[in-house]
């Protein structure tokens, strides 16, 4: 990178607020990149995102749902890199398109789960009293539901599909976030720097969103990236049971399920999407681990 720019970003005495903010963002990026685990995770997820974005180009003109019954269950070859499934569809192309489904599920679940968990947890922890009691008992009730069983019931009631899978996973995934946010908020709320902003006349909402939530955010993000693997696996599990994405949509869990019948003779049908699930879960886990190291304020 340009020497002058690096110096400007790493300056010990930033001249403006913008320079200070950009400088700390740059330092954070350097910290993530220089952490091997985080970097590996980041690369895997970047590749996943690129795969999903450029799936039509990477697919070399093949469609993920077009059936060619004449070449069904073909082993990996130059024409079909990862072989074909029981309906003659190219597994490489279906795996590419499956990344889209996986990313959609992961994105939707995190967009739903993190704000709900943060809001419930920080409100309960900061307001205390009956608000705390009511919100945390609701959390306990949701925590007591077995995830897959609730998801099954949900999918059965609303009908199978990606949206309902996302709702079902989100419903059972938010309580741990509320618990984390609440326990952090309880300790933060007692501290002098919160008393100081209260003394300055800050409203309850301002204290919550400007002073408490930013401190809870790092542990929630770390927990979220570590949970991603679980979310992907649950989504794949629902797909495997036929309650997630519906055929002919390419979804990794459903693809593994379809390959189950022929797993001994045509191993590639179930193995390739299985490897994809494994690598992506690993990537999110590594990123989560790395982010935990980077976010730890005691380390800096």
């Amino acid at each position: 990178m340009n020497q002058g720019l690096t110096q400007w970003l790493m300056s010990e005495a930033p001249a403006s607020r913008r320079q200070a903010v950009l400088g700390s963002v740059y330092r954070g990026l350097v910290a993530i990149i220089s952490n091997p685990a985080a970097l590996t995770g980041l690369v895997i997820i970047a590749v996943l995102i690129l795969m999903a974005m450029f799936a039509p180009w990477l697919a070399r003109g093949m469609s993920p749902i077009e059936q060619t019954l004449s070449s069904r269950l073909a082993p990996p070859s130059a024409e079909h890199w990862f072989g074909t499934d029981e309906l003659g569809r190219d597994i490489y192309v279906r795996t590419l398109y499956g990344a889209r489904v996986t990313l959609t599920i992961v994105l939707l679940v995190s967009v739903v789960v993190a704000p709900i968990g943060l809001a419930v947890g920080t409100l309960a922890g900061y307001l205390g009293g009956w608000v705390d009691a009511v919100l945390m008992r609701i959390t306990d009730i949701f925590l007591a539901f077995p995830r897959l069983v609730l998801a099954l019931a949900f999918a059965a009631a609303l009908g199978p599909g990606i949206e309902n899978a996302v709702i079902a996973i989100s419903l059972t995934a938010w309580p741990p976030y509320a618990r984390i946010a609440r326990s952090e908020t309880v300790t933060i709320a007692k501290s002098d720097f919160i008393a100081a902003v209260v003394m300055q006349g800050a409203s309850t909402w301002r204290v919550l969103f400007k002073h408490i939530v930013p401190l809870c955010l790092s542990s929630v993000i770390v927990r979220l990236t570590l949970d991603m693997a679980g979310i992907i696996l649950t989504a794949a599990g629902l797909g495997f049971l036929g309650l997630g994405a519906q055929p002919p949509t390419a979804e990794w869990g459903a693809m593994v399920s379809a390959g189950r019948d022929v797993i001994l003779d045509q191993w590639w049908v179930a193995t390739i999407p299985g490897i994809a699930i494994f690598i992506v879960s690993l990537g999110f886990n590594l990123l989560g681990d790395g982010l935990r190291d980077v976010f730890d304020p005691k380390a800096s």
């Binding site: 200070a20 002098d192 008393a195 902003v197 003394m199 300055q200 006349g201 400007k210 930013p214 304020p297």
Partner: protein, 251 residues
């Protein structure tokens, strides 16, 4: 400026009740520096927090600037008094820069020329402009306490409440902070209440001093009387002799 009559603070902790402050009454005149001393657990900090509205209290009168202070303070009432905490390592938000910390009270009260006032406040407490975009963990204890003082004074409050502002700092830094407070008190003509367990600090900075023991006010003495030992109560005498510490003659 501040009138307190029969102030009581009771803490409830898992079924046990604990009367931390019992029937404390005093008044602080405008421009005065009032000291409160006592051993640990005597309730001196709790009195200060009750005046600040940070703990629940009951009293026949708690008036600030001639007006009864409400249970829930309005934004305007908050502007009247600010607080400097004992531990500068706990009183600054760990994820905010000095700039964020100092801007916050100005934003809350909708002030204008925020940038100029932040720069002025940093200079006013003897910090360099270099410190403006630092995080608290990049500053020393004394520098942090300066930031805390700058934050307390940035709204120009007439009243400053000081809760052992130097006890977490080492001796050389204590003197710097005390001199800074002494200078600011004059230039802002502040009314202040200083809580400390250090009689020397209190005798140096305060006009009148209240001595507290087990949640009760023992007596109120002048700084001059405290220095010469002309006091009424035995407990005050004990406290004075204890603060002189170990002498070889006694041993």
């Amino acid at each position: 400026m501040i009138r307190v009559e029969n102030l009581n603070v009771t803490f409830h902790n898992s079924g046990r009740t604990m009367r931390a402050v019992r029937d404390v009454s005093f008044a602080v005149a405008a421009g005065e520096t009032f000291g409160i001393v006592g051993e640990s657990g005597s309730g001196k900090s709790t009195v200060l927090k009750a005046i600040a509205g940070l703990v629940k209290s009951s009293s026949t009168m708690l008036a600030v600037n001639g007006r009864e202070a409400a249970e829930r303070r309005s934004r305007e009432e908050r502007k009247l008094m600010q607080f400097v905490f004992q531990d500068p390592y706990a009183s600054l938000h760990p994820r905010q820069t000095v700039d964020d910390i100092l801007r916050e009270p100005l934003i809350i009260h909708g002030s204008n020329n925020i940038d100029d006032r932040v720069v002025a406040a940093i200079a006013n407490v003897g910090l360099s402009p270099l410190h403006r975009f630092r995080y608290p963990h990049q500053l020393s204890g004394g520098q942090r306490q300066r930031v805390a003082i700058a934050r307390a004074l940035i709204l120009n409050p007439p009243i400053l409440l000081l809760d052992e502002p130097t006890s977490a700092l080492d001796v050389s830094v204590q003197a710097e902070i005390l001199n800074l407070l002494s200078r600011l008190r004059q230039s802002y003509s502040l009314t202040s209440i200083l809580v400390s367990h250090d009689l020397a600090v209190v005798a140096h900075l305060c006009n009148r001093i209240a001595i507290m023991q087990l949640g009760q006010l023992v007596e109120i003495v002048n700084a001059a009387d405290l220095r010469t030992g002309r006091v009424q109560q035995d407990y005050t005498r004990q406290l004075i002799s204890a603060s002189r510490g170990f002498t070889r003659a006694q041993a």
